[in-house]
């Protein structure tokens, strides 16, 4: 039977780590993910798990040690946020290109500068091209459920890629919510043991990892990584299917909320989806207007065709980014969703708004206004502001 609890997002992920009892965890503290290594260290100190914790001297070293441990054959994870992820940047690429199934519990936080400890997605969006699978959560429950699914995806023989399990700093990481936990024995069975095929500590095989590869090999190597990402699409859904069989909770590439008949839609990632849902309920209940939401769960691999299909009938869509990319044309989610719509020859009007940078609140009223704007855009077929900051003070 599932266990009812009340946990913060960090507690929930740490609990999942306790249940999985991975082999090696190098980590370095950084707000707001610090609690995760603290909880794990406590589990170890009290003999609840026997994971080896490496108290490294930086995040660069935590991902470097994770690469070493994973290549050696150990099930490995780390946790970080913001500048910690930025310091790992080089190593993220190495983990992915070496095809190491490392799992990273990311608690999303704005990148410096100015230094800011609150939620936005600039950290993980900066790492979006590193070759990692990225899975995002709206709630503590999703952060926990996603974490349980991480190793079965990462270690699948057709994938062998690192996975980033993302949740919003403070909003879910520190906010306490009701949560349903899976029983320990079921988790053990679901996640299983890592059975590496090639690893440094295999006494029966000599292995060399991390060569210098000239141009005649580099491009073929990248194509291999791309194939793993393509395969990940199938595996993510298969694992979600198994997870549903175990828990009854359903996961896919994204969640559609009132999207079936929607004429106006928002596309968003992370915790703000909950606020958007409240706005949708209010609008539908008071006006009956057909508003809906597409909440991205899997950003890498990017489910382009599925997103376009889900938005096929909407008249106008607002894509909301929680990170700047300073292209001066929008945010990364906006760019990719618009590309998906273009490819599908969609006739929907699409705008790209930025919100919540550095932890700025976004409210139900803000979402109601977004839908009002979409209504106007759909009616007039005219976009006056393609790229707007929500909740920005301005003269």
């Amino acid at each position: 039977m599932a266990v009812r609890e009340r946990l913060s997002g960090n507690e929930a992920v740490s609990y999942a780590i306790r249940q999985i009892n991975p082999d090696v965890m190098p980590a370095f503290p950084i707000t707001p993910s610090t609690e995760i290594p603290q909880y794990v260290a406590n589990y170890i100190a009290n003999g609840e798990i026997d994971t080896e914790f490496i108290p490294v001297e930086s995040e660069h070293s935590s991902m470097s040690a994770a690469v070493g441990a994973s290549a050696a054959g150990a099930r490995t994870l780390t946790a970080t946020s913001s500048c910690g992820l930025a310091l790992m940047w080089e190593e993220l690429y190495v983990a992915a290109s070496n095809r190491l199934p490392v799992v990273l519990a990311l608690v999303n936080r704005a990148l410096s500068g100015p230094i800011n400890i609150n939620a936005d997605h600039s950290d993980s969006m900066g790492a979006r091209d590193s070759g990692w699978i990225q899975i995002y959560a709206e709630s503590n429950q999703e952060a926990y459920d996603n974490f349980l699914q991480a190793y079965p995806i990462a270690e699948h023989k057709d994938v062998m890629l690192p996975v980033m399990i993302c949740q919003d700093g403070f909003i879910t990481s520190h906010g306490v919510e009701n949560i349903l936990l899976v029983e320990d024995a079921l988790v053990k069975e679901f996640v299983g043991e890592r059975k590496p095929e090639h690893y440094l500590l295999n006494p029966d095989e000599t292995l060399a990892v991390g060569p210098y590869a000239v141009s005649n090999y580099y491009m073929e190597t990248k194509r291999g990584q791309r194939q793993a990402m393509i395969n990940a699409r199938r595996v993510i859904l298969e694992v979600a299917q198994r997870f549903r069989a175990m828990t009854g909770r359903e996961y896919g590439f994204f969640e559609s909320y009132c999207l079936e008949d929607a004429e106006l839609a928002v596309v968003i990632i992370g915790s703000a989806a909950g606020t958007c849902k409240a706005a949708i309920d209010r609008i539908r209940n008071t006006t009956g207007k057909k508003v809906g939401l597409l909440k991205i769960r899997v950003f890498r691999p990017f489910p382009e065709e599925e997103i376009a299909a889900a938005l096929a009938r909407v008249k106008a869509v607002a894509i909301l980014d929680r990170s700047e990319m300073f292209s001066a044309t929008g945010g990364p989610l906006g760019a990719e969703v618009r590309a998906a719509l273009y490819q599908a020859k969609s006739r929907a009007e699409a705008v790209n708004y930025l919100y919540g940078l550095g932890g700025r609140d976004i409210t139900v009223e803000d979402f109601c206004q977004v839908y009002e704007k979409l209504e106007k855009i759909a009616a007039e077929h005219r976009i006056t502001d393609m790229y707007e900051y929500i909740g920005l003070r301005s003269r």
């Binding site: 070496n98 095809r99 062998m160 090639h198 000599t206 060569p211 090999y217 190597t221």
Partner: protein
Amino acid sequence: MISEKINESTPWQDITEGNKIFQAATSREFCTGEWRTATPVWNQEKCKQCLLCTPVCPDSSIPVKDKLRTEFDYDHCKGCGICAKVCPFGAITMREGK
């Protein structure tokens, strides 16, 4: 031979996952002896088998068997000449060319 399995004509599907190589010492297949501009010549009569030449070779090209050095590995020797300089008995001389 690794070079038969993986070479510059190998399609992407056959490049090893993560560029891992599941075999030891595959570099032996690559003949660095081609680089030589001078060649060490071993005079067995002068050689006292002191083995002082063996650890100084950067290319592991002075094989030792049963505590005796054997002929140079000309497939790999790059002709640096360190061995000739350390030989106390003048048993290694450098000859111009390969």
